[in-house]
């Protein structure tokens, strides 16, 4: 009796290193410009080569400008430009496929990879970015790694994997209006804590997960890392296969039949034991917002800023400039940001546009939308969503990680307060001294038009 994680682990174990560690085969590896340069440098210093260039893909996303540029010279930040140039040199030298700034496929890596049909059920997919767990929505064993591990994969096509404990999070019930996958994962994180899934491989299960579309499932797998999960996975069903089929890198013919047959085996055996089980009825969830500087410091929008339970809460309230007892819906914002690998897919933009249609961004609020990829942007434009965003007063930008971590020039100023569809409300994350409130894209849209945190269900 095995869990899905354990099956994926067994199928990719090259050798056991010790009781706690295996050498894991990496089917596919995704790189970006900011965590890979030192990995290539290490490879070159040691005189090693890339073992299998066809199993890697590089994408420029973290430092990408989101304003239109015609050439790399227009990337004003010299450090970011050097990282982009270095990635191109390394890919050319080792014959690795590169999606650069000007490639029509460009976007945030975790949006691009599934959209290109590269997230196959039953595979291992690693990337030097913590939100790599996104691909678990397709039944892949996927997780984020550091730069030394990137170097290790380039040289050996393997990684040393610390064996995790399986954990199941079951979502039951049906969500009320205005409650999205983002609210579900935020509710789980608030319940179990920022450390609540540490050392665990999470399997999402239950009727409320099955009822979500692939975009929502990706949001669940993406953001559960904010509870410390190393791996997140969902058993691939017909919807996962249907989403994959026909995409540029999806298998075809006999290869498709083999993958589809394999996918049916990718589920937890009846009676398999999880080290930890959590169950949440999503019917009881309201749209959430964070009030602190850790993703678990979150509450339903109708609640008030809580009394601090310790020094960490007191420090968070001080940084956020909030007073206990203040209704969350009275918190005024300066900026609204819709973007990130958590929430910048087409379904997210549709949900936000539905709120923005016929409304205007409140005076004094700067609002930007950064679609997850050029393809998502084009799709949104084909549906006329860009016009809705623009008419509401949102800036309609190019794709990239942008203000989720503010490595490009989209940076919030000190003291500014943001409603953000991203994944981390850490101190300084979106700009030094900037104050982030995490929420769903529709909730960001609602805050943008009212100028304060708002229960989207009331609009």
């Amino acid at each position: 009796m095995k869990t899905l994680y354990e099956k994926l682990l067994d199928a990719h174990t090259v050798r056991r290193i010790d009781d706690d560690t295996v050498l894991l085969y990496v089917d596919f590896h995704v790189m970006n410009e900011y965590t890979s340069p030192q990995a290539f440098a290490g490879l070159h210093e040691a005189g090693r080569s890339v073992r299998d260039p066809g199993r890697h893909l590089a994408i420029v996303d973290h430092v990408s400008p989101t304003r239109a540029i015609a050439s790399l010279d227009e990337v004003e930040d010299a450090g970011g430009r050097l990282q982009i140039e270095t990635l191109a040199e390394n890919c050319a030298r080792h014959e690795i496929e590169l999606i650069d700034l000007f490639d029509p496929r460009q976007g945030i890596e975790h949006v691009v990879v599934p959209d290109l049909g590269l997230a196959w059920p039953g595979t291992t997919i690693l990337c030097g970015d913590s939100h790599t767990t996104t691909y678990g929505a397709f039944g892949a064993l996927a997780y984020g790694i550091g730069t030394s591990e990137i170097e290790h994969i380039l040289a050996t096509q393997t990684v040393e994997h610390s064996v995790l404990k399986p954990m199941r999070i079951t979502l039951t019930g049906a969500p009320g209006a205005g409650v999205t996958a983002k609210d579900m994962v935020m509710a789980v994180i608030a319940r179990i804590g920022a450390n609540g899934a540490a050392g665990h491989a999470v399997e999402w299960d239950g009727p409320a997960v099955a009822a979500l579309g692939m975009e929502g499932r990706m949001t669940l797998c993406n953001m559960i890392v904010e509870a410390g999960a190393r791996v997140a996975v969902i058993a691939p069903d017909g919807m996962a296969l249907a989403h994959l089929g026909g995409r540029p890198h999806a298998p075809t013919g006999d290869a498709w039949d083999a993958l589809a047959a394999h996918a049916t085996t990718l589920r937890t055996d009846e009676g398999a034991v999880f080290a930890r089980e959590v169950e949440i009825d999503v019917a009881a969830i309201a749209p959430l917002v964070t009030w602190g500087t850790s993703p678990d410091q979150a509450a339903p929008i109708f609640a008030t800023v809580p009394d601090p339970r310790g020094d960490a809460d007191r420090r968070a309230l001080d940084y956020m400039d909030l007073v206990p007892g203040m209704p969350l819906h009275t918190i005024q914002i300066d900026r609204a940001f819709i973007g990130s690998c958590t929430n910048a897919r087409i379904e997210d933009l549709r949900a936000a546009a539905q709120i923005l249609r016929g409304r205007r961004v409140a005076d004094g609020v700067t609002a930007i939308c950064v679609p997850g990829s050029k393809a998502v942007r084009a799709q949104a434009e084909a549906e006329g969503l860009d016009a809705i965003f623009r008419e509401a007063g949102f800036e309609w930008r190019g794709s990239g990680c942008s203000m989720c971590l503010a490595m490009n020039d989209d940076v919030a100023a000190t003291g500014e307060r943001l409603a953000s569809s991203t994944n981390r409300n850490f101190e300084g994350r979106q700009g030094r001294g900037a104050r982030t409130h995490l929420m769903s894209p529709a909730m960001v849209a609602a805050a943008a038009v009212t100028g304060h945190l708002t229960d989207v269900r009331k609009l």
């Binding site: 199928a11 090259v14 340069p37 090693r48 430092v63 595979t123 790694i145 550091g146 920022a194 850790s294």
Partner: protein, 199 residues
Amino acid sequence: MTPFTVHTGIAASMPAPNVDTDVIMPKQFLKRIDRAGLAEGAFHDLRQDPGFVLNREPWSDASILICGENFGCGSSREYAVWGLMQWGIRVIVAPSIAGIFFGNCEKNGLLAITLPPDDVAALATLAADPATVEFEVDLPAQAIRHARGETSFDIPQARKTLLMEGKDHVARTLEHENDIAAYEAARLQPAPRLSSRIA
């Protein structure tokens, strides 16, 4: 990688939970293609406060950090570990350490130790008193020696050996290249491949 055997140094207590890698190494220090020049970035924003522990004597020379739950959570950026090492940190002790950060420590020879909360709290109390800040961390003996005696810790054997030998982890894996080749020859699961550029 620098081998780790026994390290003697000053311990500083940083009890806050969930200290994330954005706080350890802010974004403006991530625009590099090498691993150098990162000491300046370590805890950059926290260090603007003169009262921050690493700004005060004797902890400004600390090489051992006694931390809170979930230290190093968030982004995978290995820059955080490089910066801590360049600042002079050799050991981190916490009740729990975030997964990716923990792996990054190991790959760079920064000894990351998890201990039960009560043990960490006792070490934090010692580290907060200038009279008892000096610790000796003995990896072969799996012990932290201090003014009140000794605190022992667990570490998996493979990890311990790697740290003590300071061996390149890629070289260690390449000793088993035959196993990798055998796996590749035998594998049945379908997986994507980019054999050539997409037109």
